[in-house]
């Protein structure tokens, strides 16, 4: 592993997560991308989807509904309007996210985005079952 970088997940209400991560997979609006230490600076908007965070100790999955990711030399900051940690989510929350994701599907203007949101919906559906 190439080392760690600071990963912060910030919602308007509070800082949800602030850890040193080894690898983070981000659902960007132009395709998923993986951020590791030393990534080039990027600002990207997000689509509904799951962020996979790998730290030295464990892995976590967080669902976000739209937001922004900013990568700079030292840190990855995600500004999310709504986010929850997948393992701790309750079914009602998932349902409401599912509705929102379906809404987002209607607003999509490219096939790629549609594909992506579809995948987020699939992931949510899988969560509902489990």
């Amino acid at each position: 592993m190439a080392g760690t970088f600071k990963f912060e997940l910030v919602s308007p209400e509070r800082i949800l997560m602030s850890v040193d991560a080894e690898q983070v997979i981000v659902p960007g609006s132009e395709g998923e991308f993986t951020v590791m230490a030393g990534h080039a600076p990027v600002v990207s908007s997000l689509l509904p989807g799951v962020i996979h965070v790998t730290t030295a100790k464990d892995k976590q999955a967080i669902f976000v509904r739209s937001g922004f990711a900013e990568v700079n030399a030292e840190a990855l900051t995600i500004l999310a309007e709504r986010a929850f940690i997948v393992e701790e989510a309750d079914p009602r929350q998932i349902d409401s996210e599912l509705d929102a994701a379906k809404q987002a599907l209607d607003d999509c203007d490219s096939d790629e985005a549609r594909l992506h949101v579809n995948r987020a919906i699939e992931e949510l559906k899988a969560l509902v079952k489990s």
Partner: protein
Amino acid sequence: MPSLKDLRNRINSVKATRKITKAMQMVAAAKLRRAQEAAEASRPYAERMDEVLANLAKGVANPEGASPLLVGTGKDETHLLVMMTAERGLCGGFNTNIAKLVRNDALRLLKEGKTVKILAVGRKGADNLKRDLGSKITDRHSLQGLKSIGFEQASTIADKIMSGFAAGEFDVCTMYFAQFESVISQKPTALQLIPAKLPEGTDADAEAANGGAVYEYEPEEDVILDQLLRRNIATQIFRGLLENAASEQGARMSAMDNATRNASDMIDSLTLSYNRQRQAQITKELIEIISGAEAL
């Protein structure tokens, strides 16, 4: 001269009032702490947003093609004033001060021949302006019955504003709220939302943090800037709501503290005159008895 019984009744009623104001003060103090924490917790998000925005806006090469949210519609005719006040009174000059600021600005704009529209968030401010500017209040948003302020509230208001702007209902949007400075001081503040006023000075900081590197943007710069500006409005409104909530509780706390102190003073002076009168009565009765005995 009130009788002894009257005085006793008055003392009791002021005591009851003092109990209520004391309780309200303590409730406000507890709520204030929570509101302050919420306001502080929301700060990182707003700060990051500012940084990214400042960075982006700097990079926009041609202002003509830029989003109207940033540069405005080019006109300055219709102003939307978003007035944020509380749902409840009994908090000193809090609501009045905000309403006063809005009224002054509205009257100034009207004098300049501009059109003014007011979006009233919270009931009290609208009540305050009803008499002279009631016709200008085009929309209301109620915060009634809310335990705490969530981002959804801000989003709803922001959506209202955005759709109004898209429909060309106004050119400039300004938000009025009370900036929380301390428990005893809340400053009514006007903040321009559209066209966006970007913070100065963060440019250099952001650049320093980034080591002067150039960002890549996904999607295109102007698209992301537009999205960010939209989100920024919701963020600013959220900030305003939280600041306002903290200010309201702070204002209520100090107002109720004053009221409690006044009630105590009043009880003291009433007790004094009650005792004085009681003594006078005893003396009078004694004199009556003595002079009665002497007469025998």
